[in-house]
């Protein structure tokens, strides 16, 4: 029976070709635009550290003085001052903890005659590697003793390692960063978590990778350049309690430990207040990694706006299709009356018309898939860091068809329901 309905659907669509084409086009446009954006979102909101992210937390305390200016954001940005970060690091209350800051240094190639070049990386403390399960190709991380002794050692990511040493083994060799020599102790296996969740989040964290990692205390010792957003509310420089610029992450293996750590943060804050610091009301936060990414708008606002817009577009397209389907179905009132008079039940009519909207939906879905692929291709041409991640995958391919079918069935429901209520006799009389 369904096969017969499909044949009648196609032949009736043939009769009003222009309208059918219009409906398929409209569905295709709506599905294509929204699937492009949904796919980008699906890709960007993925977990940067699968299997580990639910044990990682970003503590937030607000070290700023009381608000002096309305333009100042009310929410703290999660950056720490040097004294606070060091206090919490040395308190060792979490399973693992690390302090970090972005850095940019001139790298001098060993080969003479080559000009120095700039590279961005991160100044971190020892637990960074274990906490984020950073994969090493060769060598290993340093230990916290190296942090305390301000050791001049560096871990390279694979790209910079290749650039400096080619394919020759590099462990134990020397890299000159700015004015100091660093000994290579480890090389990473092309580590590029997307987004770069541990950095300051600013909507441009996709596509970035750190090419070197060296001890934070050493970087401070050598006064290596910080790369990122630093806000100071008083003089004293970057190691003073008046400049927030460091990121602090902790690993807590159970929710009970997380709760205990939250208590600890609160008590730390109140203790500091007792010393006349941190005048804002104590309200220590501990955000899980994925929660933190959402709160800090890791996905750029422009993209979220584009997603809302594409969904709005889909809604308008579907209302349009409902209207057109309703008109098509009602126009066939005569035919429906005859079928009803000949004994077709309402359900039969409903099913027949439903199949018809499915046929349109499928055709629209196919077109939408093409449009979505085209849309993703155009997104990949954008200069943004997330651009290269915009790829259709199997689940999204399936999702496109499901969305197209569901949308067209839902769109067909109302018209089909309205049409199957056409009474048999009355309609015949008016003809």
């Amino acid at each position: 029976m369904l096969g017969y309905y499909a044949t009648t659907a196609i032949s009736s669509l043939r009769r009003s070709k222009a309208l059918a084409v219009l409906m398929v086009l409209v569905i295709g446009l709506g599905i294509g635009a929204s699937m492009t954006m949904i796919t980008i979102f699906h890709v960007l909101s993925g977990d940067p550290l699968p299997g580990r992210s639910d044990q990682l937390y970003a503590p937030v305390i607000d070290p700023r003085p009381l608000a002096r200016d309305h333009s100042e954001p009310a929410e703290p940005d999660g950056n720490f001052t040097w004294p606070d970060a060091m206090n919490l690091l040395h308190a060792q209350r979490a399973d693992r903890q690390a302090v970090m800051a972005g850095g940019a240094v001139p790298v001098r190639p060993q080969q003479s005659g080559e000009l120095p070049f700039y590279e961005t990386g991160r100044y971190v403390t020892a637990d960074f590697f274990g906490m984020f399960k950073v994969p090493f190709a060769t060598g290993s991380a340093w230990r916290s003793e190296d942090d305390e002794s301000h050791a001049r050692i560096v871990v390279l990511n694979s790209e910079l390692n290749r650039k400096l040493f080619g394919n020759t083994p590099s462990i134990g060799r020397t890299v000159r960063l700015k004015n100091a020599d660093f000994r290579v102790v480890g090389v990473l296996d092309d580590w590029r978590p997307q987004p770069q969740f541990y950095a300051q989040l600013n909507g441009r964290v996709f596509g970035k990778t750190d090419q070197f990692f060296l001890p934070l205390q050493t970087a401070q010792d050598l006064n290596l350049d910080f790369n990122g957003r630093m806000s100071c509310w008083d003089s004293g420089g970057r190691t003073s309690e008046h400049c927030a610029w460091l990121q602090f992450w902790v690993q807590l293996d159970s929710t009970a430990k997380a709760e205990a750590y939250r208590q600890f943060l609160g008590s730390y804050w109140r203790e500091q207040q007792a010393h006349g610091r941190m005048p804002r009301p104590a309200h220590a936060h501990l955000f899980g990694l994925m929660d933190w990414l959402t709160r800090q708008h890791a996905i750029p606002d422009d993209l979220r706006l584009q997603l809302s817009l594409s969904l709005g577009f889909l809604a308008v397209c579907m209302i349009n299709v409902v209207g057109l389907l309703l008109a098509t179905f009602l126009r066939r009132g005569g035919e429906i009356s005859v079928r009803r008079a000949l004994g077709a039940r309402r359900w039969d009519i409903f099913l027949q018309l439903g199949v018809e909207s499915c046929v349109i939906g499928l055709a629209g879905g196919l077109l939408g898939l093409g449009i979505a692929c085209l849309g993703l291709w155009s997104v990949r041409q954008r200069p943004d860091g997330y651009a290269q991640l915009a790829q259709m995958d199997a689940s999204m391919l399936f999702g496109t068809f499901v969305l197209a079918l569901v949308a067209s069935v839902v769109a067909g429901l109302l018209p089909a329901w309205r049409a199957c209520r056409i009474p048999p006799a009355l309609q015949l009389k008016t003809q």
Binding site: A18, L19, L22, L25, V26, L29, G30, A33, R68, D69, S71, P106, R108, L115, P116, F117, Y118, K178, N179, N223, D225, W233, S235, G236, G237, R238, D301, D302, R304, L305, Q306, S308, L309, S310, G312, F313, A315, V316, C317, I319, N320, V322, G323, L324, L326, A327, T328, L330, R331, R382, P383, D384, L414, R418
Partner: protein, 403 residues
């Protein structure tokens, strides 16, 4: 012409009419908001930077050897760049509008007082304001004896000792509303700094949504950081050549440095707004597709109704209605439906705007966009219905007599 048959006929298609009204309303709401976002972005992109944008070539030099006397190095570099043909003036600066690296200070009016706002600190060598082509609208330029080093080695402590500053008009108005800013004292650091001049504009290195994009202070402080940007004033057509040559000249003077981002100011500005341009293109195509889909929907339904009503049109023609009456009928019908949609759309537009303001830090919808958007939709509706309505008016009266 009586409208009662029109209303009666619309009420026979209640569901379809409601759908059409809803579609027009949604389109109106979305298009108004999209247009307002586009307008805001374009306005941001057109903000005057306050410098002679077309004549500036920039190159960033980062000396690897930090122990060297950076001031002497910058002087040597500047002398070499000045000697290049086609370069009329050069200066070393620490930041520029759109350059991204922003050094902001809280500005207080009393020592250790609360900051009224934050403003970007711009520093440069003595010729910097000339080279950049800034417009001094009041007061004077810095005097040679006012210049001190930035003292980056000691946490930029020059800010605590600098005697004078030149501020933007916007900042002056924020700090001293309705007063003469010249001669007033501000506290960007620990010490008092006297305002000696006012420039019309100088955008900050990064713009934000708040009104403070033009809050800048200029200080007579010489950049003594290893990282400095050289600005060369040159004729627009010479910029490419000058940049190439500057790289050679600088690398020849000292090869132990990184040369970054040789570019014209125009390029830097374009790069800064690249995302906004993508967004504008996207929003424009979204708005156009929406309007197109809605127009197609209106035209499709209208041509349907025309076909459906061929007999009644014929009867009306037979009892004396002119072609013009029929045309009017369909146009009025469309006007009523689209008009109702627009009225609903205005309400929706404001509701949507509130929602967007909550979630995306967008600005309030300027009221002008709403009537313009509504009018545009009404016109679009009339345009879409014109074809079907013409066809309707072409239905001959004789149709009435056929079964």
């Amino acid at each position: 012409m009586s409208h009662s048959p029109l209303i009666a006929s619309l009420s026979r298609h209640k569901l379809t009419v409601c759908l059409l009204v809803l579609q027009v309303a949604l389109t109106c709401a979305i298009v108004c908001n999209v247009a307002s976002i586009i307008g805001h972005r374009m306005a941001q992109m057109r903000l005057p930077s306050g410098v002679a944008e077309n004549e500036l070539a920039l190159i960033e030099s980062i000396s690897v050897d930090e122990t060297a006397n950076q001031l002497a190095r910058h002087d040597a570099d500047l002398a070499a760049l000045r000697a290049m043909p086609g370069v009329s003036m050069v200066a070393a600066v620490d930041a520029l509008p759109f350059s991204g690296n922003n050094w902001s200070n809280g500005i207080a009016l009393v020592p250790n007082g609360p900051a009224l706002t934050t403003a970007t600190a711009y520093n440069g060598t003595q010729d910097a304001m000339h080279v950049l082509g800034m417009h001094l609208v009041a007061g004077r330029l810095f005097l040679p004896e006012e210049y001190i080093p930035l003292d980056a080695a000691h946490d930029w402590s020059g800010i605590n000792h600098v005697p004078s500053t030149i501020v933007t008009r916007a900042l002056a108005a924020k700090l001293f509303p309705g007063q003469e800013p010249l001669g007033k004292v501000i506290y960007p650091g620990d010490g008092p700094v006297r305002i000696v001049g006012v420039v019309d504009h100088l955008l900050r290195p990064t713009l934000d949504e708040s009104e403070g994009s033009d809050y800048s202070t200029l200080f007579p402080m010489l950049p003594d950081t290893a990282d400095v940007t050289y600005v060369m004033r040159t004729a627009p057509q010479d910029r490419e050549r000058v940049l190439k040559q500057a790289q050679k000249v600088l690398a020849g003077l000292d090869s132990n440095r990184v040369l970054r981002r040789p570019q014209s100011f125009t390029q830097m500005r374009e790069d800064y707004f690249r995302r906004d341009r993508t967004m504008i293109t996207l929003l424009l195509s979204a708005a156009l597709s929406l309007l197109l889909v809605t127009a197609a929907g209106i035209a499709g339904l209208a041509s349907f109704w025309v076909q459906q009503r061929r007999r009644s049109i014929g009867i009306r023609r037979a009892v004396g209605a002119t072609r013009r009456d029929i045309l009017r009928y369909f146009q009025t019908e469309n006007g009523v439906i689209v008009g109702a949609g627009v009225v609903l759309g205005v309400v929706l537009a404001y509701a949507l705007n509130m929602l967007l303001m909550q979630h995306y830090a967008l600005q309030r919808l300027p009221w002008l966009y709403v009537p313009v958007g509504g009018l545009a939709l009404c016109l679009l509706g009339q345009l879409a219905v014109l074809g079907p309505a013409m066809r309707a008016s072409g239905v001959p009266p004789v149709v009435a007599t056929r079964g």
